[in-house]
């Protein structure tokens, strides 16, 4: 993992001190809420329905066991004993007192963390493939470049007041686990015909009220040019992005209105002129950062472990968990463990302080002290020996974290919704809970197979409903909560936006509607098809018929 040097540490310490002064000015009344707002937003502090909310950056979703313990400490000391992991690999604390926030930032700084640029119209915390460094399909480790981008974008003097927020995601693998096509910029590491490392650069994806799939504006950008090219994109956007309408201010609207080719030409032109004055990225700096992300000292292990295989055969519960919550590690004898934060009765992404500590302990003991946060609001123990999977599973079970549903119908992405958020039109969490309860039967879940349900409480789409295989969007209909369903969305390398299937459903009818959709899929599917495959083959019609009756068409 990356470790701060004195420069990195000074910046975070100074920033925490600066904010302590700003909070003092606010508490003394010297600053009004209107004057304080831009300052707190630069530090991830929102004012929500009931209280302040602080959003902590987890750069590219990578946490150490010690950092996880610090998050548990914060949750217990200054919040209500839990935290909420978000779709951007960050964590939110929903109940801090304003006067305590400077102490929270200090506690974060002590473990090389911060809340810088987790809100505001700036370059937000950069995200990456949660399986970075361990996925067996990886070309190169995206964390190296994500850290480089984290540094370059932190307190960037030119790009701290963009037309709108700006999100960058990086992956090193062909299989897209970072939703690149729905980011303002998506970067996919690849090699050219000479074997040199570089990036495919995608721009202009996004969700919100005008969802769009990003366009590739450069198929290969040499790694040394990464920062100057990003600077060129950001400069074109900063100067030309719309500022007259909040809802048309994202870069996707600019790319769409200019046309991707014209936009790309403007970026290239700006980039060529920036070559001398832009931020260089020398090979020795890439090497310095890469050294932090070298693989841990793995043991040479057999690819099959008899005890593990035996337990899988004998213990159905363990076998089920292995089926959904393990992914192939690039190293023989190791597995990637997904830890589901979607238990029955829980809120997607929520985790208690004690559970954070349990994960930290397991990471320390069995996963080289490393933890990841996924964009689906789950956690990952990235390097677990096959021989130790039993122990890890038992440890997770003791903490109530063994839910065997990763990638299944109950592994729901949901925003906080009307229970917490002052933008929401409708509740998200109780809808997720009802669906999870309806599909609680594990045999049934496993029979249904891979199915992503994403729920947003309003058009801002924090719950990524546009890219859910089944997307659910809360809307307000004459003061009542209603839910619109989209089908066929996906955020992977075959990214697509879901299409509205028909009229929306009431709060009490939405769970039944989801069940009808699942039943239709099961009736329609061919051997081996996932929900998305079936939907793409048969289209929306059978689903419409079953949801609304033939007459609807």
């Amino acid at each position: 993992m990356y470790r701060y040097d004195t420069l990195d540490q000074n910046l975070v310490d100074e920033r925490a001190r600066q904010f302590r002064g700003q909070v003092a000015r606010r508490l003394s009344g010297e600053l009004s809420e209107a004057e304080f707002r831009p300052l707190r937003l630069m530090n991830g502090l929102y004012l929500q329905l009931h209280a302040y909310m602080v959003r902590v950056a987890i750069p590219y979703g990578t946490l150490s066991a010690d950092q996880m313990r610090a998050l548990a400490y914060i949750a217990r000391t200054w919040d209500r004993g839990y935290g909420h992991f978000t779709t951007r690999q960050n964590i939110q604390f929903n109940w801090p007192n304003l006067a305590d926030v400077p102490d929270i930032l200090d506690a974060l700084a002590a473990v090389e963390m911060h809340a810088i640029q987790t809100s505001g119209n700036c370059i937000r915390n950069v995200t990456a493939d949660a399986y970075a460094g361990v996925a067996d399909d990886e070309v190169a480790d995206p964390r190296v470049y994500a850290e480089i981008i984290r540094q370059w974008s932190s307190l960037h003097p030119e790009f701290s007041f963009l037309p709108r927020k700006f999100k960058v995601a990086v992956t090193g693998a062909p299989q897209d686990r970072a939703a690149l096509r729905v980011h303002d910029i998506g970067l996919r590491l690849c090699r050219d015909s000479d074997g040199a490392l570089g990036f495919e650069v995608m721009v202009g994806g996004g969700q919100g009220r005008t969802p769009m799939i990003g366009t590739t504006i450069r198929s290969f950008l040499p790694e040394a040019d990464l920062l100057t090219y990003l600077e060129a994109i950001l400069r074109v956007y900063n100067m030309l992005g719309r500022r007259d309408n909040l809802y048309k201010a994202r870069i996707k609207i600019l790319v769409h209105s200019l046309g991707a080719e014209t936009f790309a030409a403007m970026v290239e032109d700006e980039w060529h002129q920036l070559e001398d004055t832009g931020p260089a990225l020398p090979a020795h700096e890439i090497k310095r950062i890469r050294a932090f992300f070298l693989p841990p000292t793995y043991e040479d292990l057999e690819a099959t472990v008899p005890e593990f295989e035996a337990r899988r055969r004998q213990d159905t519960a363990f076998a089920r968990w292995c089926q959904t919550n393990l992914a192939r590690h690039r190293r023989s004898g190791y597995a990637i463990v997904d830890v589901s934060l979607k238990p029955e009765g829980g809120s997607p992404g929520d985790i208690m302080a004690e559970q954070m500590e349990a994960v930290a302990d397991l990471a320390k003991r069995y996963s080289f002290g490393e933890i990841r946060v996924t964009h689906a609001q789950n956690l990952v123990l990235p390097h677990v020996k096959l021989a130790e999977l039993s122990a890890v599973w038992e440890g997770l079970a003791a903490a109530g974290l063994e839910t065997p549903n990763v990638g299944l119908v109950t592994d729901i992405i949901a925003c906080p919704g009307l229970d917490f958020c002052n933008l929401a039109n409708a509740r998200s969490i109780p809808v997720a809970q009802r669906i999870i309860e309806r599909f609680r039967n594990l045999d049934r879940q496993h029979d249904i197979g891979e199915l992503r349900i994403n729920i947003s409480g309003c058009i801002n789409a924090c719950g990524h409903h546009h890219v859910g295989h089944i997307g659910i969007l809360g809307v307000d209909r004459k003061g009542e909560e209603y839910y619109q369903i989209t089908l066929g969305g996906s955020s992977d390398e075959t990214a697509s936006l879901g299409k509205v299937v028909g009229p929306s459903f009431s709060y009490d009818a939405i769970t039944d509607a989801v069940e009808v959709i699942v039943t239709t899929y099961l009736a329609q599917r061919c051997q081996g098809e996932r929900f998305l495959d079936t939907y793409r083959r048969v289209g929306a019609q059978p689903f419409k018929e079953d949801l609304y009756g033939i007459a609807q068409g």
Partner: protein, 179 residues
């Protein structure tokens, strides 16, 4: 209005001239871009300092050829959230090589001064009654800069990799802390 130049309060010699008003003889005149375009032929014959004020949607690139004649380019922030002048300041300094005064006017906030200075602004119009010393303390709150910009101390990259050090190892004085 209080004028801050560098880190000191200063007298402002510039007179802002409305588009319909005559340009005063012998005085430092700050004109809009439209006025400059309209009367350029006459104004270049004038024997007193000229400055141009650009609104946030006006790029400095169209006045590139005029810069040697200008003693001041003022960039206006209509709202503090309008970040275009940051890019325009960098273009002035780094692309067009302008070395005169670049002044931030409009909705200038204390907590943005450092960003402005790093982008090449060297003068700032503060609101009436601003305590210059207090505002200037904003310059000292952050001392680490990850990016090269138009102005300011060396970037983290420069400090980690000084030109004279061999390209094998970064400067070792920046030790790492344990948790």
């Amino acid at each position: 209005m209080v004028l801050l130049k560098g880190d000191q309060a200063a007298q402002d010699p510039w007179i802002r001239v409305a588009d319909e008003d005559p340009v005063p003889d012998g005085a430092s005149a700050l004109l809009t871009y439209d006025r400059w375009r309209r009367d350029r032929d006459r104004l270049v014959l004038r024997n007193a300092p000229l400055g141009i004020i650009l609104h946030s949607e006006q790029s400095p690139l169209p006045i590139a050829d005029d810069l040697p004649r200008l003693g001041l380019v003022a960039l206006e922030f209509p709202k503090f959230t309008d970040g275009r002048p940051y890019s325009h300041a960098r273009l002035l300094r780094q692309r067009l090589g302008y070395r005169g005064e670049v002044r931030a006017v409009g909705n200038v906030l204390r907590d943005q001064l450092l960003f402005m200075r790093r982008c090449g602004f060297n003068a700032f119009e503060l609101p009436d009654g601003a305590d210059v010393g207090e505002w200037c303390s904003a310059f000292d709150e952050i001392s680490v800069f990850y990016q090269p910009a138009a102005n300011g101390p060396p970037s983290a990259m420069d400090l980690r990799w000084p030109a004279e050090s061999p390209a094998e190892t970064p400067v070792s004085v920046f030790g790492m802390r344990g948790y």
